[in-house]
């Protein structure tokens, strides 16, 4: 790992190998963003359904909308963080490579970062889209 403030640091032996080792990767990681989208979607749908079918007569919707709004913000923050991590892994500023077509560990590492970043992006948009009905429609009608 890079030590701050020491540009002349010599890489230690097998440093790259360790950083890009296969055991440290997982295909699941690129699906984290979409999984958060799915969780957000399901919670919104399920809680609104339960509310509209069973609880509507008991209290107003504002509390639920606020809670789901808070959930939305939390999900967006989490996706943002995942996206940022993936963006760092892609390392496009350091390498200048947008596409990573080479069959070595470094390119595979950066490719998974790129894919994870793009998936975080589309999940972010998905969560924003799914929050719009909460904002625009205030009741079960």
């Amino acid at each position: 790992m890079a030590e701050p403030g020491r540009d002349d640091r010599q890489p230690t032996a097998h440093e790259d190998e360790r950083e890009f080792a296969e055991e440290r990767e997982s295909l699941w990681r690129i699906t984290l963003g979409p999984t958060i989208w799915a969780g957000h979607f399901l919670i919104c749908y399920a809680s609104v359904s339960v509310y509209c079918f069973r609880l509507e007569r008991m209290f107003g919707m504002e509390g639920l909308r606020l809670a789901l709004g808070a959930l939305t913000l939390a999900c967006l923050a989490a996706i943002g963080w995942i996206g940022w991590r993936a963006f760092r892994r892609w390392e496009v500023w350091g390498t200048g490579e947008f596409s990573n077509p080479v069959g070595n560990a470094e390119d595979r590492h950066q490719f998974l970062g790129h894919a994870g970043f793009l998936l975080a992006l589309v999940s972010f948009i998905g969560v924003v889209f799914d929050a719009l009905p909460l904002l625009l429609i205030g009741s079960c009608r």
Binding site: R18, A21, E22, E23, R24, E25, S26, L27, I30, T31, P34, T35, W37, A38, F41, C44, Y45, V48, S49, V50, C52, F53, R54, S99, N100, P101, V102, G103, N104, A105, D107, R108, F111, L112, H114, A115, L118, L119, V122, S123, I125, G126, F129, D130, L132, P133, L134, L136, I137, S139, C140, R141
Partner: protein, 856 residues
């Protein structure tokens, strides 16, 4: 660095990897090469004569699969023509209303279940191993079993129309119409298609494991062909989309056969549950059809553009992103069912969001074409047609995703037009492009350029003549699925145009079918790589050899035939891995998931009758209940289990003759793996993920009734016996523990103790089954949906526990007869994994039957 996770007792690969250039340049002596080729030829020989049908190789099974699906498509197409003839004129009496209902139900069902989804499986089985430079898929007999299931089920379902007994409630079988339907039509639909869904899940398991574990050494995830990415995503989608439908079918058939009122509102049931379960399957299904077809475009486009695809990561994003988002769309088929508007809003929003990844991949294709030097070959012509038609279908999709617009056009011909635009553009055209593109690969012949252009222009113009006017027909108010319409609504001429278009499409398909089926023996030998493609399938040998690849290459680029120029020559000379089959066994290499490091030499199974027998008996178990013939069905099910056990016992996870084997290029690989290293373990894991989804759908059902019905469980209802449920749960937990302990003890060499665990396990399982059955015995499932649901959960658990019990006994037998030893214990690992899922199922079922209803 973390230690590798190879279980103790397993062997690790030894020797040199990756290979150096010098090693790859070393010549192979001619006599060695000839001997190796003889060995390979013998190991991979296709059975001759009538034994041909026992073949399990992907090239044979894939071919049968493709042709069968194509045949079903032609039949479903003929049904469409009959419907169009009936609609030619108002008040037409060519076809009766009842016959018309059967026709549209069967047209939709056959096109979806007997053509579109199987076609994906068929084409993938046929070409995926070639993309990956693999000899075969990891479980050839599973593919063959899946195919025979598909054939038997498909003939049964589609044949019913010839006996005037076909289902007639529409391809989505809405209750109460379908539950009240007289005759056996609905049962044929439910049981026949459930049977075929088994085949789909088998194919999904095969393809996921294939794409993850059977890539050639060096083919890391960032260089694998895009097709493999799509297969992975679609396989995953099948695992989460088909099980809800299987759960729905299960409830539906219980209602049809035993009058358990799941969808009957007079006894607490709710037809909406079926709609939810059907469309949780049904919408992802559209993308299950679309993604693999567009994956063909992702293979054709770089070849015709003469350059690598632009935006590889972006296409991976769109495949994975679409896979996820497509599960958030199902209610857009249910906008008119009276759900709260805010709920509709969520689905409307997700339906608009899915346009983003879908659009991205189309833009990536267009960008690749712009950046390259396009050669307008025949496959590209079909891809171009696909893009045009799909874009039009996508635009109307954006329109109907908006709920208020959908309320206007719901169940009209506008929807018929929309769905045909998406399916022709998203599936038919790309698949035909694929047939033209890959035909030289799988038949070693070329299709006719002239006939292909005729077929294209006939189908393309015919399609637009037929379906473009339907948008207007629908907006003018013609509902779908009516067998006739009165004069003077202004839709007569539109219907006539559509009918003319339908016959032009049919003419196009006739040309296409003739081109495929006409004899081509006079054709000279084709070029090896006729389109100049860059991916591994074009390293195929001409004339045909049955071994797949001569040697399994070391791949480090996305387009190895373009970027690694010496590769094909080295493959041919047997310079790479597994160039020989000394033991006369069929083998392929298993590699790691992320970086495709070689891990193991996997022995794959060869020709067998047993898969056909197993499929036949499985068919009996599903088909006899259609006619309410339960005893023969049970006999068939028992024989199916026996066949499957025999098949597994004789050909899977057998102790090898030697633990390690020379794989070539100085690499020695283990020949046996157990636990997470083994492909069989992965297959169990993937299957059980699908199974858990089906179970989750049943649990969802309980909560669904609770939200939709204020009296669920009804006040004062009798509950299952708490004591017995607790006993059952404890027994299952103990059986689970015994199985897990047996695995550890066996590995540690304490074989006697392990066997004791495998004796205690089945006894506990049987006790658990008895207790859970008796716990609900006093409830009458026909009176109300609440007891029915408890019974359904019980039946589900008992069925799975029976499988778990057989597996425990299978391992016990393995231990007693020397198939399962402390060193060779793959079976026990797989069974333990099954039991992890079963144990959780039992705990959740115990809670759902014993605890949750008392708290609701």
């Amino acid at each position: 660095m973390k230690q590798n996770r190879i279980p103790a007792g397993d062997l690790a690969p030894e020797g040199i990897y990756p290979p150096t250039e010098e090693m790859l340049d070393e010549p192979v002596p001619d006599e060695v090469r000839a001997r190796q080729e003889d060995n390979l030829r013998a190991a991979w020989k296709t059975p001759q004569g009538w034994r041909y049908w026992t073949a399990v190789n992907n090239s044979e099974v894939g071919l049968w699969y493709t042709l069968t699906a194509f045949f079903f498509m032609l039949m479903a197409g003929v049904m469409a023509l009959l419907m169009r003839l009936q609609l030619w004129a108002p008040e037409n009496d060519l076809i009766s209303a009842d016959r018309f209902n059967q026709l549209f139900t069967m047209h939709g069902s056959a096109m979806m279940f007997l053509f579109a989804v199987p076609m994906f499986e068929a084409i993938s089985i046929l070409i995926l191993p070639a993309f990956l430079g693999a000899r075969d898929m990891p479980f050839p007999r599973l593919s063959a079993y899946g195919y025979w299931c598909f054939l038997i089920g498909g003939v049964f379902v589609i044949g019913s129309i010839l006996f005037d007994a076909a289902p007639k409630a529409g391809w989505f079988m809405y209750p109460p119409l379908a539950t009240k339907e007289q005759g056996i039509g609905s049962d044929i639909w439910l049981l026949g298609l459930s049977f075929i869904e088994v085949a789909s899940i088998a194919a999904a398991v095969e393809l996921i494991v294939g794409a993850l574990k059977c890539r050639p050494p060096g083919m890391r995830v960032n260089v694998m062909p895009l097709y493999a990415w799509y297969v992975l995503v679609v396989g995953g989608m099948i695992l989460f989309a088909f099980p809800p439908l299987i759960a729905g079918d299960f409830l539906f058939e219980l209602e049809r056969s035993f009058d358990w009122p799941f969808f009957d509102p007079t006894r607490g049931g709710d037809p909406m549950l079926w709609q939810h379960l059907f469309w949780i399957f049904g919408h992802p299904e559209v993308y299950i059809i679309f993604l693999p077809s567009i994956a063909i475009a992702a293979m054709v486009v770089p070849t015709v553009a003469r350059r690598p695809i632009l935006g590889y990561s972006w296409i991976v994003l769109s495949a994975v992103g679409t896979g996820f988002l497509s599960f958030g769309l199902w209610v857009h088929h249910m906008f008119t069912t009276g759900l709260p508007n805010i709920s509709l809003g969520f689905f409307s929003a997700a339906s608009e969001a899915v346009v983003i990844p879908t659009g991205i991949q189309l833009f990536a294709f267009v960008a690749t074409l712009i950046a390259g030097r396009v050669v307008m070959t025949l496959p590209m012509l079909w891809i171009a047609g696909a893009l045009a038609i799909f874009t039009a279908g996508g635009l109307t999709g954006v329109m109907v995703a908006i709920a208020p617009f959908d309320w206007q056009v719901h169940d009209t011909y506008f929807i018929v037009a929309h769905l045909h635009y998406t399916l022709f553009g998203g599936m038919i055209f790309p698949v035909i492009a694929g047939v033209y593109y890959f035909f030289p690969f799988f038949r070693k012949k070329m299709l006719s350029e002239r006939l292909g252009r005729w077929a294209f222009w006939l189908i393309f113009t015919g399609f637009n003549i037929c379906f473009l006017p339907m948008h207007l027909t629908g907006l003018l108010g013609m509902p779908r699925r009516v067998y006739t319409y009165p004069e003077g609504l202004g839709i007569d001429w539109l219907n006539q145009i559509s009918t003319v278009g339908a016959f032009i499409i049919a003419a196009g398909f006739a040309v296409f079918a003739w081109d495929i089926l006409r004899p081509k023996s006079g054709q000279p030998q084709i070029e090896r790589n006729p389109w100049g493609g860059g991916t591994l399938e074009w390293s195929h040998e001409i004339p045909e050899t049955k071994w797949g690849v001569r040697s399994i290459p070391y791949v480090t680029t996305r387009y190895p035939l373009w970027d690694q120029p010496k590769m094909v020559d080295r493959m041919d000379r047997g310079r790479y891995y597994l160039p020989d089959a000394e033991e006369g066994l069929r083998e392929t290499i298993v590699t790691s998931v992320i970086d495709a490091r070689p891990l193991q030499v996997q022995r794959v199974t060869g020709p067998a009758y047993i898969t056909i027998l197993a499929a036949g008996f499985t068919g009996g178990a599903f088909i006899f209940p259609t006619f309410h013939l339960y005893p023969p069905a049970i006999v068939c099910a028992a024989f199916a289990v026996v066949c499957i056990c025999y098949w597994l016992w004789t050909s899977t996870a057998r102790p090898p003759e030697a633990d390690m084997k020379e794989a070539g290029l100085g690499l020695r690989l283990p020949t046996y793996a157990a636990g997470p290293q083994a492909v069989g373990w992965w297959a169990v894991w993937i299957t059980m993920l699908g199974d858990a989804t089906a179970f989750a759908s049943l649990v969802f059902g309980v909560f669904f009734y609770w939200t939709s019905n204020a009296a669920f469980p009804p006040p004062g209802a009798e509950h299952a016996s708490g004591t017995l449920v607790a006993l059952a749960t404890a027994a299952f937990a103990a059986a689970w523990l015994a199985t897990r302990a047996a695995r550890g003890l066996n590995r540690a060499g304490r074989v006697g103790a392990a066997r004791a665990g495998l004796v205690a396990g089945p006894l506990l399982t049987a006790a658990g089954m008895a207790a859970i059955i008796f716990s609900v015995l006093d409830l009458d499932p026909t009176t109300h949906v609440y007891p029915a649901m408890m019974w359904a959960l019980m039946v589900w658990l008992v069925a799975h526990a029976s499988a778990g019990l057989i597996m425990q006994l299978y391992c016990l037998a393995g231990s007693l007869f020397g198939k399962l030893t402390p060193r060779y214990d793959a079976d026990l690992w797989n069974v333990t994994l099954f039991w992890h899922f079963l144990g959780l199922t039992a705990l959740v079922t115990g809670a759902m039957i014993g605890l949750v209803p008392r708290m609701m």
